[in-house]
Symmetry: C2
Subunit: 225 residues, 2 copies
């Protein structure tokens, strides 16, 4: 019996590791990426290439102009991208982002009758995001079971968050045991069109520190370090 999983894949380090984990668990893979007004498309290019490498059955890129909504440095060009951030919820927070991503994945999961939705959220390194916490995921899960035909019939998809309690170093170590090629993933908030990271923003710093902590060489392609 084939088990299907919808995997949310941004092209970054975390979601690519998540895809590798879903494959290692024997799921037939359906990749979903959301174009929500990001400033660059190299992340989506990376997602497309990674989905090919992992032989996903189908990769859907949904165009969603959530950038219209504003409120985040990731989607609103009038907000300055911070080079480093203080305490609390960061300005790179996208309003209701994971809720929107999971809702779209839920719709596709319902059509596919998929048993699982994988999302690479992580509560350790990015502690300011409310929608990365386990209690949020559990609550989305409860809602999803009530929201859909398959949920009402007791066959709703399980929301899987295999990275939620891992440090960046542990995520990298896990991925490497599964053969992930991290040079193909794009993490930087302001990557160039070839996917090269700036090496200076918080995302690049956290990623680089992860490789250091994992005691492996950082294969990321940077413009400068």
């Amino acid at each position: 019996m084939i088990k299907k999983a919808v995997v949310l894949i941004s092209g970054g380090l975390d979601s690519t590791t998540c895809l590798a984990i879903a494959r290692s668990q024997g799921y037939e893979l359906y990749g979903m990426s959301i174009l929500y007004g990001q400033r660059h498309s190299s992340e989506i290019d990376a997602a497309k290439s990674i989905c090919k490498d992992y032989q996903v059955q189908e990769h859907r890129v949904v165009n969603l102009d959530i950038g219209l909504i504003g409120g985040s440095a990731l989607t609103d060009p009038t907000i300055k991208m911070p080079e480093s951030q203080g305490q609390g919820i960061p300005v790179t927070y996208v309003p209701a982002r994971n809720t929107v991503l999971l809702s779209l994945a839920l719709g596709w999961a319902e059509v596919l009758k998929a048993e699982a939705i994988f999302i690479g959220v992580n509560a350790v390194d990015y502690s300011g995001y409310p929608d990365c916490r386990p209690e949020y995921i559990q609550s989305f899960q409860n809602m999803a079971h009530l929201a859909t035909k398959i949920g009402v019939e007791g066959r709703g998809p399980i929301i899987k968050t295999p990275l939620i309690a891992l440090t960046k170093a542990e995520i990298i170590q896990k991925g490497l045991t599964l053969g992930v090629d991290y040079s193909k993933t794009v993490t930087c908030y302001q990557a160039d069109e070839d996917g090269l990271g700036c090496g200076l923003c918080d995302a690049c710093k956290i990623r680089n520190q992860g490789f250091r902590d994992a005691n492996v060489s950082d294969v990321t392609r940077y413009r400068a370090l």
Copy 2:
């Protein structure tokens, strides 16, 4: 102190009544419409015109190609539109539709710091849709409080469903007391480009029956009846 509300407005009878109710409760209005691969745009044209009539502060139309997802006669042109339907969940059900709509509204509500989100769901006339039931809405509400900055701070928006327990006739009566002009609303699944209903599909029939049950004349513009 201004109270803001995001109102999901499709251009149909229910959401227009919902908008009128939100206005009657003193909210500053922010209209949101989602273009999710509907077969016709006359509903959105109606939504735009209605938002002008109600002097909403801002009306955002979000393009979302959820039609890609398939699985519904409303968005997938390969599924035949039924003229009438049997028991159970109808084929016009859009996968995870209200979850996607509410998620997008939640994102905007967070940016606006809105106190309420209005959605015109109804559990009476369309009993086959799992995401129109009160227990689903309550569950989305719980999730929304955990998902967002404003929710975590105890100021998350309340999901308001003033129509949920009303019959179509009661919705129409309520709207008429608030001065709603129903000739401007578009309900038909296959309205023409001028917004004229077919008079034959389930949506048209339920709507027409609502006017009959309310003992008022049906002002809907039909192609044939």
